[in-house]
Each structure stands twice: as C-alpha cells, then as structure tokens.
C-alpha cells in the first residue's frame, strides 16, 4: 500500500476497501478529489473470498472474488486513489473538516465515506480465544475437513449456522447443534430439517458457558437444566454477521438496534459530510448493491466537497 503523510488533508477519506469503498473512491478520484482509502485487513473486503461470483453483471461465466476485486483496485489506482493499510480507531467532526484517527496517526478529510462492512460476532466466553485454532473454529467449509470422524458442537441460531450444521454432518461423526436458549431463528422448520440427519443432536434450551481442554478442545460446559458437560473435539461458532460500526457509534453516527448505519437517499449519515455505503448500512449484502451504494456515496461526497470549497472561496 502507499504511504501518505499522517495528518495530511484529503478531500475524501474512505474507511474500508471492499466493493463499496473502492467504488466510492473511483467516483471521487475520477472527478479530481484527493482521495485516501484506509483498509486494515484485506483490500477487496469480504468480496475477496468467494471462489466464484456468478451474479455480478458483465461476467457471464462468473468471476472469482479475488479477480473482481483486483480489477476494482486497479481501477481505483488508475484514478489516483491512495491506499493506506491501517486500522481506524476514531472519527470526529471538527466542523469544516473531519478527523480520522488510526493506530498509526491521523488524517483530515473534507468528507468521509464509511464502508467498514460487517464482521463475525464472537461469543466472548471462557476458552474461546484460548482454543482458537486448537478446536475453536468459525468456518465449517474451511476447517470441517480437520474434524472428519470426530465430534463437534456448532453454536449459532441463524441461517449460516444451520447450513454449517448440515455441511459438517456430512463430514464428522457427530454434531451437537446448540442454537442457544432462544432456539433457531428459523423456528420448528429448522428442527424438522435437522431431524433428517441421524448424526445431528439438537441441544435445546442451552447456552454455551465455556470451552475447555488441554492442548486441544476436549469438552464444552453448558447452561442447561440437565446437561452439564459434553465431550467434543471441536466447537464451530457460527454467529450472524454484524456491521462493523462500534467506532462509528462512538463518533455519534446513528445506527439502528442491529448496528446498521442509518443513511438518507444520498447515503449521508446524521453527520453532515459523512456518508456510508455497503454492508455496514445493511443493504443487499451483495457486491452489486455495495457498488451501487458506493457510487451514490461517492457522488454525494463529490457534491458536498465542491459546495464546501465554493463556500470557502466566496
């Protein structure tokens, strides 16, 4: 990534390098605005991962997420977007400009586009971090093969958890499905679906209390009226994704109860000059919807910055 000077003023600073952020950058930089994009993890975001994207228009044979995102990145670079590999820790409105704080420094911006995406929830129970990679896993399709002929628990109540339970049931010896005391979000239909898998046992009315073992996971402890401990070789924690917006809430940006950033028709948040796009606004969770959001946010940021500059020059 490029290394611009910390503290430098940009017309637009974009937080997040997934499809929404990259598209916003293409629009603002192409119109001559100095644009910095900050990404702390993987340029391309969640879209980098899929083995094949079949529904992105213009690719009739499909395209890998990596190839599509490499094209987005190359296009953004061509128009002059600067990239910085940093973690954003704060955002504040200073009236005329915004201050973006990172672990490594700070950047000033006339407008900010938030495209921070979503992240997987964690349980935050004893043993989860200690045994991460030693029996605690978060991706059934990635890590399931390590548990062939073993016993695993799957913790989670949403659609993703149910999908992963059925995937694991085809690989492992036994699956304990633990949706939590509130049950599966899909209701009794899910129980009926899982009933068809002879090696899946649904533990209803139980919350996971802790994960234990020695070198690797050996057991889990439950909050349950009769069951206490289950012997398992692995625990797959498959919770729903949530918007990456904790830092934004602290900055005063309004979100709904699910953490989704609230925006108007121009992708503008409750803070003037701060726009949001992509998965963090909980739109369609698709590359196509993220790019649409990103384009609208980029154009709105363009209008905002031009108006700001006109105001200053008069």
């Amino acid at each position: 990534m490029d290394r611009p000077m910390s503290g430098e003023l940009f017309d637009v600073v974009i937080l997040g390098g997934g499809p929404a952020g990259l598209t916003a950058g293409i629009y603002t930089a192409r119109h001559g605005l100095s644009t910095l994009l900050i990404e702390g993890k993987q340029l391309g975001g969640r879209a980098w991962g899929p083995h094949r994207i079949e529904n992105y228009p213009g690719f009739p044979q499909g395209v890998t997420g990596q190839e599509l995102m490499e094209r987005f990145i190359a296009q953004a670079r061509r128009f002059g977007v600067g990239f910085r590999e940093e973690t954003v820790v704060g955002l504040s409105d200073m009236g005329g400009t915004k201050m973006v704080l990172t672990r490594g420094g700070s950047y000033e911006a006339r407008a900010v586009v938030v495209a921070t995406g979503i992240q997987k929830q964690q349980l935050s129970i004893p043993g989860e971090m200690e045994f991460k990679g030693r029996g605690v896993a978060y991706c059934a399709i990635c890590d399931g093969p390590f548990y062939a002929d073993k016993t695993v628990a799957v913790v989670g109540s949403g659609k993703n958890a149910v999908e992963d339970i059925t995937k694991l049931a085809e690989i492992v010896q036994k699956v304990y499905a633990i949706p939590g005391s509130k049950g599966f979000s899909g209701g009794s239909g899910v129980l009926q679906e899982l009933f068809e898998y002879l090696n899946v046992e649904v533990i209803e009315g139980a919350d996971l209390k802790s994960i234990g073992g020695d070198e690797f996971v050996t057991h889990i402890d439950l909050e349950h009226e009769s069951l206490g401990r289950l012997e398992v070789d692995g625990v797959f924690i498959i919770l729903d994704n949530v918007p990456t917006t904790d830092m934004l809430k602290e900055a005063g940006i309004e979100t709904d109860e699910g953490g989704c950033v609230q925006v108007d028709r121009n992708q503008e948040t409750n803070i003037s000059g701060v726009f949001a796009a992509g998965d963090c606004v909980c739109g369609g969770m698709q590359v196509t919807t993220a790019t649409g959001d990103g384009a609208k946010a980029g154009l709105a940021a363009l209008r905002y910055v031009r108006a700001l500059k006109r105001k200053r020059s008069t």
Partner: protein
C-alpha cells in the same frame, strides 16, 4: 555449495477460506523483503496430502502459518510487524 534459504514459512490454506488469500499475500510480501533468505511453501488442506500433513502438525484451522516448524499464526489478520518479528527471530537462531 551455498544454500541461501535460512527460514522456512509454511502456510496451510484452503481454496474456500475467505481469510487465506490475505494471509498468503502478507506472507509473500514480507518474505520478499528478505532477499531469498525465506522460503515459502503453501499447503492446500483441500487435498489428502495437505490435510494429513496439517493434522500431523496440529493444524485445525486455516490459515495457519508456521515459521521454521513453529506454529505462529492461526487465522487472519495478523500484523506485518508480528510476522517480520517471527522471521527475524528465526533468522537469529538459524545456524
């Protein structure tokens, strides 16, 4: 005969893992800064050989990164600085 490589990095990955490309990219970038003193091997755990080798070495998730046969990172992201420090440490111990 000279043997330039002094540190070996093994990256266990899966082609269906969303975090693996980032880990592989970072390992490639950091290792390229050591002028041929670091060798990188990528092991695909979606092959029989890869999964067996991974399980024999205590791998239970991808991506997992070993530096000179010591498990250093599980999952991604991990920092460029932490990886470089692990390589520097291994080089310092290299005969």
């Amino acid at each position: 005969m000279w043997r330039l490589v002094m540190v070996k990095i093994d990256v266990y990955f899966s082609p269906v893992c969303p975090h693996c490309p980032g880990a592989k990219r970072l390992v490639a970038e950091v290792s390229s800064e050591y002028g041929g003193r670091v060798e990188v091997e990528e092991i695909n755990t979606y092959t029989r050989e890869g999964i067996e080798r991974g399980m024999a070495n205590g791998v239970m998730a991808v991506p997992t990164v070993f530096v000179d046969a010591v498990k250093k990172f599980v999952g991604f992201p991990f920092s460029r600085e932490a990886l470089a420090a692990a390589v520097d440490d291994a080089l310092a111990r290299s005969p």
